[in-house]
Symmetry: C2
Subunit: 249 residues, 2 copies
Amino acid sequence: MRRMIGDVMPDHHHSLVVAFNKLARLGDLDDADRDAFFALPFQRVTTKAEGDIVSEGGEVEHCSILLSGFACRYKMSGYQRQIVSFLVPGDILDTQHMQLPRADHSIGAITAVTFLTVPSAAVLQLAQDRPAFGQAFWRDTLIDASIFREWVLNIGRRDAKMRVAHLFCELAVRIEAAGLGTPECFDLPITQVDIGDATGLTPVHVNRMLGALRADGLIEHKHRQVRIQDWTLLCRAADFQPAYLHEAA
Amino acid sequence: MRRMIGDVMPDHHHSLVVAFNKLARLGDLDDADRDAFFALPFQRVTTKAEGDIVSEGGEVEHCSILLSGFACRYKMSGYQRQIVSFLVPGDILDTQHMQLPRADHSIGAITAVTFLTVPSAAVLQLAQDRPAFGQAFWRDTLIDASIFREWVLNIGRRDAKMRVAHLFCELAVRIEAAGLGTPECFDLPITQVDIGDATGLTPVHVNRMLGALRADGLIEHKHRQVRIQDWTLLCRAADFQPAYLHEAA
DNA sequence: CGTAGGTTTGACTGATCTCAAGTTTGGTGG
DNA sequence: CCACCAAACTTGAGATCAGTCAAACCTACG
């Protein structure tokens, strides 16, 4: 019997449902769409931390759904890394590359990750046969693009403290949307080096900014866990307005 | 008789053809697609410099093709503007918003601009009836997204001189692709304030960096005209690798 | 209990910003 | 054609935010 997405083990079923629900909302999917989705052929892959899932310049022949662990999109300039977005469980990794011949950025695992891979051809076929999916995928990529734009603004126009605070706001909202915690308290297994690579700062300065945010009573990041004491206050300090996430995250 | 895109005045026909050719390449369009495109209903709009074509937070009911003049996508943080991309003649303005209910960024005219507007409904219908168009629009948005990612890298990880140089490289390639000049010499009617808003720098520092690039014999920007003496050298100085434009621009 | 990765701290440097004053450019009206 | 004006550009001096370098300190884990 052929392995279908619907057969995925129960320990990772949650993130798969999150991913489907996101698509269902973006594309207004019906029951037949749902069945088609869960009938997609897949492979389950687990990697260690620090490995690349997609490499810049390579061909992308699969479309993946992140089931557990954190990853990031990044690009290099010389020996310097710039993270351009974080990927949390339930995110689809490769929609940005699905219609393009070569990857223009890499996707790297931050923690050990588990994900499903589906052959790109099958996903494209699904999008073609069922326009609702095409629309859902397209919208998903547009929301990603909106996030990239916000990051340009974040890095280009906000000072170090706001940048870091803004990043935590975004992750809080997206992680909550993925059903992995609340803004008050959630797991975030990224290092200060990662935060620096995402905000265009050095790890040393990230450390100082986190200290400042802690001193302000806004954010605590310890033992890979985040606590946000006063969400409203933090949003103000970060100039965070979640509209750019288009209620999706 | 209904006015169709194909009827557009000859003085702006060039950019319209550029726009269509870009879509044709992205979506592998045939003659019937071509006829459908040129039969779209449209309005021609001309604005003065400095006005907004699309406003953040508003609904986007039209899809526009820029025929002449320069524009930019931008976002505000407080009273500070961050340009997130430039738009040149032949670019489609609103694909980033076509599937989303509200604009997450503004589009502003840099010079006086002329553009065609087509009702979003007609464009969505076209994309639905003719999948080749759906694919072309989708790919166009993906290439935009790739450019946003490169800007995150540019602003986050390159120093001021490289940032400015990189911006000129991108514009040179895109303007050449639009048939509006060559990298050696092209018109670029943007101010140093605009360059600062696009690179996350102050206009004063942009001025100094342009001076440095001029002293290096790399770029001259005078009288709204750019001259690039040594393209290879400039690309090296800017860490510019055009793959992220996906040969489209 | 040793080690590696991650965090914290301090002292110093430097890239970029700010403020402020000129100068040039391009358009407009007389 | 010239005079004028606003916008854009240029330049200088000083302030500051963030980077660099270096060392010490956790803390998870084998």
